[in-house]
């Protein structure tokens, strides 16, 4: 399927990661961005892939992000799909990478929303060409929280719900100050938006389209191939992969992700 799309010269969309704490305003913002992006260019198509945590007990998930997004009825250039994380660490489902690859052939921008709980920022950075951390207006001391760990990873930061006023600007300034400490010398874009009033959203749209992006989704195949091997073939599989020279070499040798999968399945006799 991918091969056929590639042969047909399908588009190569940009994968935009959006992460942040529960309730940060990610879905509402992504919905608003998507609607504006397609409205701004007649040929442009945008997809949203939203990953929701699954219950560790029942395995079921509430795919709730859709609730926040209202696309104009019957607009074929907008697509929304939910995915259950199904117990994966990092909140990025096992198949997210593959789904993304497919979507990038069909859409110009592919948003991937994940709930930011520690690990997942790391995973989303691997899937996406460019990752945004959404920070809701926080009360007083909580702003300090922002320092640890996650400050290094995202390509840009967005303070959401700017319409609430004072707490939003306090968060914005505190974040800017901590960024100066955490990433000295780096010009990390910092946005302040309100999905409710639309303030700052167009500027963010522009930056999403033009901001520096990673090497494209294919370049990250090795990481996800290794994850796939671990999930499908367990520790033995990983050992075998290492013995074969590691994921990057294996994918390269077999000419792509799917081909590598098929080859590996064949080797271990699955």
């Amino acid at each position: 399927m991918l091969a056929r799309l590639d042969a047909a010269g399908a588009r190569r969309g940009r994968v935009v990661g959006v992460t942040g704490a529960p309730g940060a305003g990610k879905s509402t913002l992504v919905g608003e961005l998507a609607v504006r992006l397609v409205a701004a260019a007649p040929g442009r198509a945008v997809a949203v892939l939203a990953v929701d945590p699954s219950s560790p007990v029942s395995g079921g998930a509430l795919l709730g992000d859709r609730t926040r997004v209202r696309f104009p009825a019957g607009e074929p250039r907008l697509y929304f799909r939910s995915q259950a994380a199904a117990g994966e660490l990092g909140g990025v489902a096992r198949t997210t990478f593959q789904v993304c690859r497919l979507l990038t052939r069909l859409f110009d921008v592919v948003f991937v929303e994940t709930v930011g709980v520690g690990q997942s920022e790391i995973e989303i950075v691997r899937v996406a060409d460019r990752t945004y951390l959404i920070v809701p207006p926080l009360a007083g001391d909580h702003v300090q929280f922002m320092k640890a760990g996650i400050m290094e990873l995202p390509d840009a930061f967005v303070v959401s719900k700017a319409d609430v006023g004072e707490p939003a600007s306090a968060t914005f300034h505190a974040l800017r100050a901590s960024l100066r400490l955490a990433r000295p010398g780096a010009e990390v874009p910092l946005h302040r938006v309100s999905a409710r009033t639309g303030a700052g959203v167009d500027t963010l749209c522009a930056e999403i389209l033009t901001g520096p992006a990673g090497a494209g989704v294919e370049a990250r195949a090795a990481h996800f191939f290794e994850r796939w091997v671990a999930a499908e073939h367990g520790r033995r599989g990983v050992a075998r992969l290492t013995a074969a020279g590691g994921a990057a070499a294996y994918v390269a040798a077999h000419g792509g992700f799917e081909a590598a999968q098929a080859a590996f399945d064949g080797e271990v006799g699955a």
Partner: protein, 668 residues
């Protein structure tokens, strides 16, 4: 001082004098202004002493009858009001200056009040003579009832402006009525009911004070105008104590928070509709006893007796009441007030240590909860954070689980379920009310006539003035009254404000909820679902949808939580979606099943729309439907393509999810 013994109630002159009874109300309205007018006049002749108007969902949600989203719901659950012309018909022969009119209207409350004032002006009745209540409690709409339109801050502004207008122009009007009734119907415990309602009242009064548009004297009168609409459940002793707790807490709040010195303004004035959530579809005749017991909770204690009472009917879980059903419930009130000796005594419970202690416990718990909400920034903050909604869904899920386990006894549902057939449902109509479709056509014709007759220039100017005021922050009452006089329609009024304020979708509250169900049965069901996931490479996906304007969310929420708890992946986007939006979600999400929940009585029309949309998408996703479905309609729905129909009798959630699995696997 009177020299009568303590058990004798005395009047001002010291002579024995029984109390006057509370106001008897019947919540009513359907089909068309003309049909409803006839109903009201008949009820008033029957001895009913006030009017309580039910509006249809388009009117409540700000759509005119000829709007496509309105069409399936016109006249179904209340009367459609499109313009002032409709109000003239609705109140024909009813003297406005002598009527106490209560309107269950929220999202469009300011508009309906403007229509009422405009009607008075055209009839030459002074505004100051108008008495009544617009429900106008928007906070509980976000939490429980669903007929909100604009984002909270704009909706609250409309509420505040009705107070600011009425305090000078319609001084005997209750601009809003804080409803905890609906909170209990959405699952609230007595403690939550008290706390959320009082926090809500505080939210409105704080806002009025912050806005600073009225002076202290007027503010005090606004405090005095705050009235409440409370629920009374089947645990009637606790409910009686709840009413006393409400009164005590309200008195404290008015005195301490707002410095109100006049005790008259601190009085907890309340009306009641007794609990309907506990009224069952199975053995519906039992509901008559439930209603009676619930009525006792709010009438027994003189110091906490309601001002007005409206009762549901025995067939509550089947359909809207027929006129006879309403008459039967009205008779209950008449017997209670006039045959019994209830009104001859002073308070029966003053001095009871049991009651005092129970009241204190409710007060303590409620104070803690109110403080928690205030710490979140009051009701507005708590709406945005989803706190109160999620607490309600939590309570509702607990209630359902406890009925499922049999811990909470519901006679005829989970105990003593075998019984003789009820003759009440044996009649030609099966005990069910049906709206006459011809009456709806009448409403449409009237709307067309209004549009044809009115002065287009005056309409344009009135709407422009309304919009300008919405932007500038001027009080919107006078511009709304001018709209009413100009024959602007309900949809036009709301659309003008939608253009300025935008629209809103509230949180669903189902995130993170679980159910405490029988572990062994749950394990069997989960194993079945895991088996499906293993065989098909994904968990069963369910899109739960609420098409149309219906705001009854309990059923959809409970089903969404139950399905997820059992191992489904669930999409539930909340109330008021179009069939188009639901089908689009299901197609994009590659759903295995669509489950719609419809309690508004529009299940046939909405099913047709849904099926047509599915066909248009070429999607072959099976559909199940749940809600209030009269028995005769079940086969009809199946004939129109619904795979399974669920009603309140299907209260065992594990069975419901199991049957959904049957439908999914039958298609595979």
């Amino acid at each position: 001082m009177s020299d009568q013994p303590p058990h004798v109630l005395v009047g001002k002159d010291g002579a024995p004098a029984p109390d006057r009874p509370w106001i008897f109300r019947t919540y009513a309205g359907h089909s068309s202004p003309r049909a409803s007018n006839q109903l009201y006049r008949a009820n008033l002749e029957q001895g009913q002493t006030g009017l309580s108007i039910a509006f249809d969902l388009p009117t409540q949600c700000g759509y005119s009858s000829d709007d496509p989203v309105a069409r399936p719901e016109v006249g179904k659950v209340g009367v459609p009001i499109n313009s002032l012309d409709d109000f003239h018909v609705l109140f024909e022969g009813i003297p406005l200056d002598r009527m106490n009119t209560s309107m269950t209207i929220n999202g469009t409350a300011m508009w309906l009040l403007a229509l009422y004032v405009a009607l008075a002006r055209e009839r030459g009745v002074p505004e100051t003579a108008l008495k009544g209540t617009t429900q106008n409690d928007i906070v509980k709409e976000y939490l429980a009832r669903g007929t909100y339109i604009f984002p909270p801050e704009h909706s609250l502004r409309l509420v505040a402006e009705t107070y600011e207008y009425c305090v000078d122009h319609v001084p005997e009007w209750n601009p809003s009525n804080i409803c905890s009734y609906h909170l209990q119907e959405a699952g609230a415990t007595p403690l939550q009911e008290v706390a959320f309602a009082l926090a809500n009242a505080i939210g409105i009064l704080d806002l009025l004070r912050e806005r600073g548009r009225i002076d202290d004297e007027r503010f005090a009168r606004c405090v005095g105008r705050i009235s409440f609409f409370v629920n009374a459940g089947i645990r009637f002793v606790e409910e009686m104590c709840k009413m006393r707790a409400f009164g005590a807490l309200w008195d404290d709040i008015c005195r301490d928070r707002y410095g109100i010195t006049n005790p008259k303004y601190r009085l907890f004035r309340y009306g009641v509709q007794v609990n309907s959530l506990g009224l069952t579809e199975s053995q519906p005749e039992n509901n008559a006893w439930r209603i009676l017991l619930e009525a006792l909770g709010v009438t027994l204690s003189r110091n906490a007796r309601c001002r007005a009472l409206q009762l549901p009917t025995w067939n509550e879980a089947m359909s809207l009441p027929r006129p006879w059903d309403q008459q039967w419930s009205l008779r209950l009130q008449q017997i209670l007030a006039f045959e019994t000796d209830l009104l001859e005594y002073p308070d029966l419970f003053d001095g009871s240590p049991v009651v005092a202690s129970k009241v204190a416990a409710i007060c303590d718990g409620a104070r803690g909860e109110i403080d928690r909400i205030l710490a979140m920034g009051g009701v507005r903050g708590a709406i945005d954070a989803g706190y109160m909604k999620s607490q309600l869904v939590r309570s509702m899920a607990d209630r359902m689980a406890s009925i499922n386990r049999g811990d909470q006894v519901v006679v005829g549902v989970n105990r003593w379920t075998d019984g003789l057939p009820s003759p009440l449902v044996g009649g030609d109509d099966g005990g069910v009310f049906r709206v006459d479709p011809a009456a709806v056509e009448e409403a449409m014709t009237a709307l067309a006539a209004t549009r044809a007759r009115r002065d287009a220039g005056r309409v344009r100017d009135a709407l422009a003035r309304l919009e300008a005021a919405a932007r500038s922050g001027d009080n919107l009452m006078e511009p709304s009254i001018e709209c009413a006089l100009a024959r602007v329609t309900t949809g036009e009024w709301a659309n003008a404000l939608r253009g300025v304020f935008g629209e809103y979708r509230a949180l669903t509250g189902i995130d993170g909820q679980t159910l405490d169900l029988a572990p062994d049965r749950l394990a069997t069901l989960r194993a079945r679902i895991d088996g499906f996931a293993a065989a098909h490479g994904h968990r069963p996906r369910l899109v739960v949808g609420k098409p149309g304007l219906d705001g009854h969310s309990n059923g959809a929420e409970v089903i969404a939580v139950a399905a997820r708890h059992a191992g489904f992946d669930v999409v539930y986007s909340g109330i008021r979606l179009t069939p188009d939006e639901i089908v689009a979600s299901a197609v994009e999400e590659d759903a295995d099943l669509i489950g719609v929940s419809i309690l508004s009585g529009s299940h046939l029309e909405l099913t047709d729309q849904l099926m047509a949309t599915l066909r248009r998408h070429g999607a072959e996703i099976p559909v199940v439907l749940g809600g209030i479905v009269p028995r005769d309609d079940v086969a009809e729905l199946q004939a129109r393509g619904v795979a399974q129909v669920f009603t309140p009798a299907d209260y065992q959630l594990i069975d419901v999810v199991d049957r959904m699995m049957d439908v999914i696997e039958a298609r595979r």
